[in-house]
């Protein structure tokens, strides 16, 4: 503690004690502004009666393919909408639109993650799309990046982190924040297991070591292997969405 002014600054002689100078106690998160908008987004989701899932992974882990297959599988049962986040292009949104569900593409123009303010804007755009205001389930496909999106709460109910078999099993150990902050860990492209060195049990153990509450699934959207557990999980969180059922908070 600084002897001159009683502040917590350890390098007491590196700051001035002019009469004009003053130490102001703030103790506020740098994410406070983002978190406030995230709380508004969550209230908005709940007013719409929609469960929101934030999907985080490296580029190319198969998020969009998983969504395409999920939409096909749940057509007529669960009303799905999608907010796509990418740095450039609306290619992902075109793929989702081709499946006949409301979708909005957000392009960040270089930013490595989506933030709550972008989702607020995206949600209003989505509501203008045909069927976009009557949804059960909203997927937010974050910018492909296993690092930065993990820091930004979007107001989602559930956070899903994905790792594909070709990426290797050491992602949880290397990128802990995404795994600590998620509820679900999906290992994708399990149809490629015969061609890659990916011990599923090791990846699962590493992820649980970081976050023992994580629910782990392994699946292939292409072959359909393990897909039922994913569909069951989605159906449970949607049916549980009668104000009480979501146990998502972390």
């Amino acid at each position: 503690m600084c002897d001159s002014c009683g502040c917590d600054l350890t390098n007491s002689h590196n700051h001035s004690h002019d009469t004009n100078s003053r130490v102001i106690e703030v103790h506020q998160s740098l994410l406070a502004a983002n978190d406030a908008i995230a709380a508004e987004n969550k209230a908005h989701f709940e007013a719409m009666g929609v469960v929101a899932i934030n999907m985080i992974s490296s580029p190319g882990s198969g998020k969009t393919t998983l969504l395409e297959k999920t939409i096909e599988r749940l057509k007529g049962k669960i009303r799905i909408g999608v907010i796509e986040g990418d740095i450039e292009t609306d290619r992902d949104a075109q793929r989702i639109r081709a499946k006949g569900v409301p979708v909005v593409q957000l392009t960040t123009g270089g930013a490595c993650h989506l933030d709550a303010a972008q989702i607020h804007k995206g949600l209003h755009l989505l509501e203008k799309e045909p069927g976009g205001d009557k949804l059960d389930l909203l997927f937010i496909e974050n910018v492909g990046n296993l690092v930065c999106p993990a820091t930004f709460n979007l107001g989602e109910h559930q956070r899903v982190v994905l790792v594909s078999v070709p990426e290797g099993p050491d992602k949880p150990a290397k990128y802990p924040k995404a795994f600590i902050s998620s509820q679900i860990f999906v290992i994708t492209k399990t149809d490629l297991l015969p061609y890659f060195d990916f011990p599923v049990d090791e990846a699962r153990a590493d992820a649980l070591h970081l976050n023992p509450r994580l629910q782990v699934m392994a699946l292939s959207a292409t072959s359909g292997e393990g897909f039922e557990a994913w569909i069951d999980y989605l159906q449970i969180i949607v049916t549980g969405n009668n104000k009480s059922g979501i146990q998502a908070e972390s």
């Binding site: 600054l9 102001i24 106690e25 998160s29 740098l30 690092v147 820091t151 649980l208 976050n211 023992p212």
Partner: protein
């Protein structure tokens, strides 16, 4: 590089604080950035050095970063320990599943301004 977004959020907060307290220059900024925050301190410092130099309010300001540790609670015996890095197992019962709590702070603690 989400550190750049966080630095921008910090500078916005500093501008607001300076206006509130009628101050013209920031001397030191003290932040708590936890080991589980997902923030690379060097990248944050780099972003701060670049962006703070663009405004007379923050030009030359010194950044002090502390690193509050996380608590790890054993899923078996409930033993809790406060540590800067994740332990491999519980020192009481050897269980490897430990639930982290805290350590993810990205908090502006203090600002010295004149």
């Amino acid at each position: 590089m989400h550190e750049m977004s966080l630095v921008q959020a910090l500078l916005t907060q500093l501008t607001t604080l300076a206006a509130e307290h009628k101050k013209k220059r920031v001397i030191t900024v003290t932040l708590d950035i936890g080991p589980l925050s997902g923030v690379v301190i060097d990248s944050f410092q780099f972003g701060f050095d670049i962006l703070s130099a663009e405004d007379s309010l923050t030009k030359g300001a010194k950044l002090i970063i502390i690193n509050s540790p996380a608590t790890y609670q054993c899923i078996q015996c409930g033993y809790r320990q406060l540590l800067p890095v994740r332990p491999d197992h519980c020192p009481e019962c050897d269980e490897t599943l430990l639930i982290p709590e805290g350590g993810d702070a990205i908090i502006l603690n203090q600002v010295e301004m004149e």
